[in-house]
C-alpha cells in the first residue's frame, strides 16, 4: 500500500498525528462519532430536554400523530402513543435504556471475552486449548433460544437481560483478543519484558493491552450494536425490557400492531434505533480503518 506522500507529509509525522489526520478525513467515523455523541448527550440531558414526563399517561389524548400530520399539534411534537404518553419524551428517555443495554452488555461480555482471549493468546498451550474449547461450546449454543429460555423461566427484567446477553455474547471478544494477543506476544519488546522478569499482570497491563486496544474497540462497537438489536428482538417476542420502561426496542415492538395504519409509531423509534446502531457500526469501522489502514475486513 504505497501511499503518495503530500509535500507537508515530508516532515516525518508521528504515528499518532497520522492517525489523527486519517480520523479527521474519515467521513464514516466522524458521522458515527457525532451521532453517538448526540445520543449520549440526549441520554444525559433527558430530564432537561424532554417536554413531558415519559410515564404520564392520558387515555383521553392517545394516538395523536406527529406535527407533520394534519391533526398533529405542538404540545406533542412527535405525537402520543397508545396510552397517551408523549412520544418525544419517551424517545428521549428511551435513549438511556438502549444505550445502557448496549454499554452494559458490551462491558460484561467484553470483560469475560477479553480475559479469556488474552489468557489464551498469552499463555498458549493448555490454557489456549481450554479457551478454544469454551469458545466452541459457546458458539454451538444458539444465543437467542438460550436467552429466551432463561428470560422466560426466570422472569424478565432489565438487569437480567443485560446479564444474560453479557454472559452469552463474549465469543467474538475472546476470538479477536486471542489472535491479537498471539501476534503481540511474539513481538520483541514483550519478549524483552519477559526476559527481564516482569510479572505477568504487568506485562498484560503494560504491553499487551495497549497493543490490542484498537481491536478491542472495534469488537466492542460491534457487540454494543448487536446487543441493542438483540434486545429489540427479545422485546418483539415479549421477553425484552418490561413496560412501562421506554426502551427503543420495546417501543418498536409495542407499536407493531399499528404499523399498517399509524406507521409513525414504529418508524420513529425504529429510525432512532437504526441511526444509533448505524452510528456505532460506522464508528467501529472508522476506528479499524484509522488504526489499521491496510486492511478493512
Amino acid at each position: 500500500m504505497a501511499a503518495i506522500l503530500a509535500p507537508d507529509d515530508l516532515v516525518a509525522p508521528t504515528p499518532g498525528a497520522l492517525m489523527r489526520r486519517r480520523a479527521l478525513r474519515h467521513a464514516g467515523l466522524l458521522i458515527g462519532a457525532g451521532v453517538l455523541a448526540a445520543v449520549i448527550l440526549m441520554a444525559f440531558a433527558a430530564p432537561l430536554i424532554a417536554p413531558h414526563d415519559p410515564y404520564a399517561q392520558d387515555l383521553g389524548r392517545r394516538l395523536i400523530p406527529p406535527i407533520w400530520h394534519d391533526t398533529g399539534n405542538w404540545s406533542h411534537p412527535l405525537g402520543t402513543d397508545m396510552l397517551g404518553r408523549d412520544y418525544l419524551s419517551r424517545l428521549i428517555y428511551g435513549s438511556r435504556i438502549s444505550l445502557l443495554i448496549g454499554f452494559a452488555v458490551m462491558l460484561v461480555s467484553g470483560l469475560i471475552g477479553a480475559a479469556l482471549g488474552i489468557a489464551a493468546g498469552y499463555f498458549g498451550g493448555r490454557v489456549d486449548l481450554a479457551v478454544t474449547y469454551l469458545i466452541t461450546v459457546r458458539l454451538a449454543l444458539p444465543v437467542i433460544l438460550v436467552a429466551l429460555a432463561v428470560v422466560a423461566l426466570v422472569g424478565s427484567s432489565l438487569w437480567l437481560i443485560i446479564l444474560v446477553l453479557g454472559l452469552l455474547r463474549w465469543d467474538r471478544f475472546a476470538v479477536v483478543m486471542r489472535s491479537a494477543t498471539m501476534q503481540v506476544r511474539g513481538l520483541d519488546y514483550v519478549q524483552a519484558a519477559r526476559a527481564i522478569g516482569c510479572s505477568t499482570p504487568r506485562i498484560v497491563a503494560g504491553e499487551i493491552l495497549p497493543n490490542v486496544a484498537n481491536a478491542l474497540v472495534v469488537v466492542a462497537t460491534l457487540e454494543m450494536a448487536g446487543a441493542i438489536l438483540l434486545e429489540a428482538a427479545l422485546s418483539f417476542l415479549g421477553l425484552g425490557v418490561q413496560p412501562p420502561l421506554p426502551s427503543w426496542g420495546l417501543m418498536i415492538s409495542e407499536a407493531k400492531s399499528y404499523m399498517f395504519f399509524s406507521a409513525w409509531l414504529i418508524t420513529l423509534p425504529g429510525g432512532a434505533l437504526f441511526a444509533l446502531v448505524l452510528a456505532i457500526n460506522l464508528l467501529g469501522d472508522g476506528v479499524r480503518d484509522v488504526t489499521e489502514p491496510e486492511g478493512r475486513n
Binding site: 387515555l59 423461566l153 424478565s156 418490561q242 413496560p243 395504519f261
Partner: protein, 504 residues
C-alpha cells in the same frame, strides 16, 4: 440484461404460484389462531382454540341456546334429577359418529367414566371431578352419579363435556383422538398437523334434529399464525377469511378497509387486580384495607374500557360476569375513579410518599401498562413482572406474588360456581382466605335451591366488595375481523360457530 430477465421471470412465476385466494370460490373458510391446542382431544387441552375446535367436532348431551340461555336436547333428549346426586338422561337414537359407530349409552358411560377418573389425567379436573360415575340403564338411558350435590352440572354437561365413541376411544386413546378425532359434530377433521394446521370438512350426515344449525360451508382450514400482525396482513391480502383477538385499535383501523367487516363481542372473561391478604402474603401492605381501597379508586375503568379494552365490554363492580347465574353487584359498594381519594387513603395508611410493589401479569400487557400508569398517578409505583400464566399462578400460589392483573374465563360456564370458588374457597388460588366468604360460597355451590344459591352468592360478593379484596375492573371483549363475504355472528362465550356461519 439477461440476469434482469431471469429475475423478472422468477418473480412472475412466484407471483402466480404464491397467490392463495381465500374464501367463497373454493368453499373453504380460512382462519387463524395464535395458539395451538396441545391436543385436539377436548379433555387434554386447556386453551381457547381447543374449546372452539371441540364444539365443531363433537356434541354434548345438552345444548344451551346462546341467545336465550335455555337448555335444549342435544345428544340427550330428556333429563331429570332423581336425587341431589343423581341425574338420569334419555339419549337420542339414530345419531352416528364420523366413523359410522352408532351413538348409545355405552359411549356416554365410557366417556364420562374415562375422563372423570383422575388416573387418566384429564387436564382440567374441575370440569369433570364432580362426576362420581356413569351407569348404563339401557341402550339409550344413562344415570350420572355425583360426588356431592352440584347444581351447575347441567351447565358443564352443555359445555366442556363432549361425547366420544367408546369403541374408537378405547382403542385410540387421547393420542389417537388427537391425531384423528372422531365425533358426531357438524364438522370432521380431514387433516391434523400438530402445531401447524387443521383441516375440517362439513359432516353431511349431521343429525337433522340437532338444535344447532346445519353446516353450510364445505371446508374449514385453521392455521397457526403466531404473530397477530401477520394475521392482519393475511386478512388484508385475502389469504385468510376470518381472524379473532384483534387488538381494539387495529380493529378500529381494519374497519376502514374495504372488503372487511369487524365485529366485537363481549366475553365471559373478567379482569381484576388480585391482592393477597392471607397469612404470609409477600405484600403485607395489601393487608391494610385502605391500601386496597386506594387501588380500587386509582383506576379509571371507564376510560380504559373506551380505549385500550374496547367498547363492547362492560365495567364490573363484583368478581363475576354479570350474566352468570348468581352474579350481582346489588348492595356491593362501588369504588369510583378518584385519584385524590386514593392518595388520601394511602397517606392515611402511612404511605404519604406512595409505595413500591411488584405487579404480576400474563396477558393484555397494554392494559397492564395502563393500570400501571393509573397506579403511578395515585402514588403506587408498580413494577411489572410479565410472565406465562403457569408461572404467574405458581408465584401466587406459593406466596411469591401478591399483586396481579388476573383474568378468568370461567370455561364459558354460565354459573358463578365456575369462578368464585376457584379464588375464594381456600383452594390453591385463594390468596385472601376469608372464612365467611368460603362458607357462603359453600352454601351456594351445594344447594339445589336457586334462591338459596342467589342469596348466598350475593352475600359473599358484598363482603368481598366491602373488604375490597380485589379490584374488579371490566369484562373483556373480543374483536373479530373477517371478509365481507361471510355472515358471522359472535356470542358471549367466545366460541365462533362456523356451523351457522355462511357465505353471503
Amino acid at each position: 440484461m439477461t440476469a434482469g430477465r431471469v429475475v423478472l421471470a422468477i418473480a412472475i412465476t412466484l407471483a402466480l404460484a404464491g397467490t392463495v385466494q381465500a374464501g367463497k370460490r373454493d368453499d373453504t373458510l380460512r382462519w387463524a389462531s395464535n395458539q395451538v391446542p396441545e391436543s385436539l382431544d377436548a379433555y387434554f387441552n386447556n386453551v381457547r382454540i381447543g374449546v372452539i375446535i371441540a364444539h365443531h367436532l363433537w356434541d354434548q348431551l345438552i345444548y344451551r341456546d346462546p341467545k336465550t340461555g335455555q337448555y335444549k336436547p342435544l345428544l340427550a333428549t330428556a333429563w331429570k334429577w332423581t336425587g341431589p346426586k343423581s341425574l338420569e338422561l334419555e339419549l337420542r337414537k339414530g345419531v352416528r359418529f364420523h366413523n359410522g359407530e352408532a351413538f348409545d349409552a355405552d359411549d356416554v358411560v365410557y366417556t364420562l367414566n374415562f375422563v372423570s377418573n383422575p388416573a387418566n389425567k384429564a387436564v382440567t379436573q374441575q370440569n369433570v371431578n364432580w362426576i362420581e360415575k356413569a351407569e348404563k340403564i339401557d341402550a339409550h338411558k344413562v344415570r350420572i352419579l355425583l360426588r356431592k350435590p352440584f347444581p351447575a352440572a347441567l351447565e358443564y354437561l352443555a359445555g366442556p363435556i363432549p361425547m366420544y365413541p367408546n369403541e374408537y376411544y378405547a382403542k385410540a386413546g387421547p393420542k389417537g383422538m388427537s391425531d384423528k378425532p372422531v365425533g358426531t359434530g357438524p364438522y370432521r377433521v380431514t387433516e391434523h398437523q400438530p402445531g401447524r394446521l387443521v383441516r375440517f370438512e362439513r359432516n353431511k350426515d349431521y343429525f337433522k334434529e340437532s338444535p344447532r344449525a346445519q353446516p353450510t360451508i364445505g371446508k374449514l382450514e385453521l392455521r397457526l399464525i403466531p404473530d397477530q400482525n401477520t394475521q392482519a396482513a393475511e386478512l388484508m391480502a385475502k389469504g385468510l377469511d376470518w381472524i379473532f383477538n384483534v387488538p381494539p385499535d387495529q380493529a378500529k383501523q381494519l374497519r376502514a378497509v374495504r372488503d372487511l367487516s369487524v365485529v366485537a363481542g363481549e366475553t365471559m372473561r373478567v379482569v381484576w387486580l388480585a391482592m393477597a391478604t392471607r397469612e404470609g402474603t409477600p405484600t403485607p401492605v395489601l393487608k391494610d384495607i385502605r391500601v386496597r381501597k386506594a387501588i380500587n379508586h386509582a383506576i379509571n375503568r371507564e376510560a380504559m374500557l373506551k380505549t385500550v379494552v374496547g367498547e363492547s365490554a362492560r365495567v364490573i363492580y363484583t368478581l363475576c360476569f354479570p350474566l352468570q347465574f348468581g352474579c350481582t353487584d346489588e348492595g356491593a359498594p362501588r369504588y369510583a375513579y378518584d385519584p385524590a381519594k386514593a392518595k388520601a387513603l394511602l397517606a392515611e395508611a402511612g404511605h404519604p410518599n406512595g409505595l413500591d410493589i411488584d405487579l404480576y401479569a400474563y396477558r393484555e400487557r397494554q392494559q397492564t401498562e395502563a393500570m400501571i400508569g393509573y397506579l403511578r398517578a395515585a402514588g403506587i409505583r408498580a413494577n411489572l413482572r410479565y410472565m406465562q400464566y403457569a408461572a404467574m399462578r405458581d408465584a401466587l400460589r406459593e406466596g411469591k406474588a401478591g399483586f396481579a392483573h388476573q383474568t378468568w374465563g370461567s370455561f364459558s360456564v354460565n354459573d358463578v360456581s365456575a369462578m368464585m370458588p376457584v379464588f375464594f374457597k381456600f383452594q390453591a388460588d385463594d390468596v385472601n382466605r376469608d372464612e365467611k366468604v368460603r362458607d357462603l360460597l359453600d352454601a351456594g355451590d351445594t344447594s339445589v335451591n336457586p334462591n338459596v344459591r342467589r342469596s348466598a352468592y350475593k352475600h359473599a360478593l358484598t363482603i368481598m366488595a366491602e373488604q375490597a379484596y380485589v379490584a374488579p375492573l371490566y369484562s373483556l371483549p373480543v374483536y373479530y375481523a373477517h371478509s365481507k363475504e361471510l355472515e358471522f355472528r359472535p356470542y358471549a362465550d367466545e366460541i365462533p360457530r362456523f356451523w351457522e356461519t355462511r357465505w353471503k
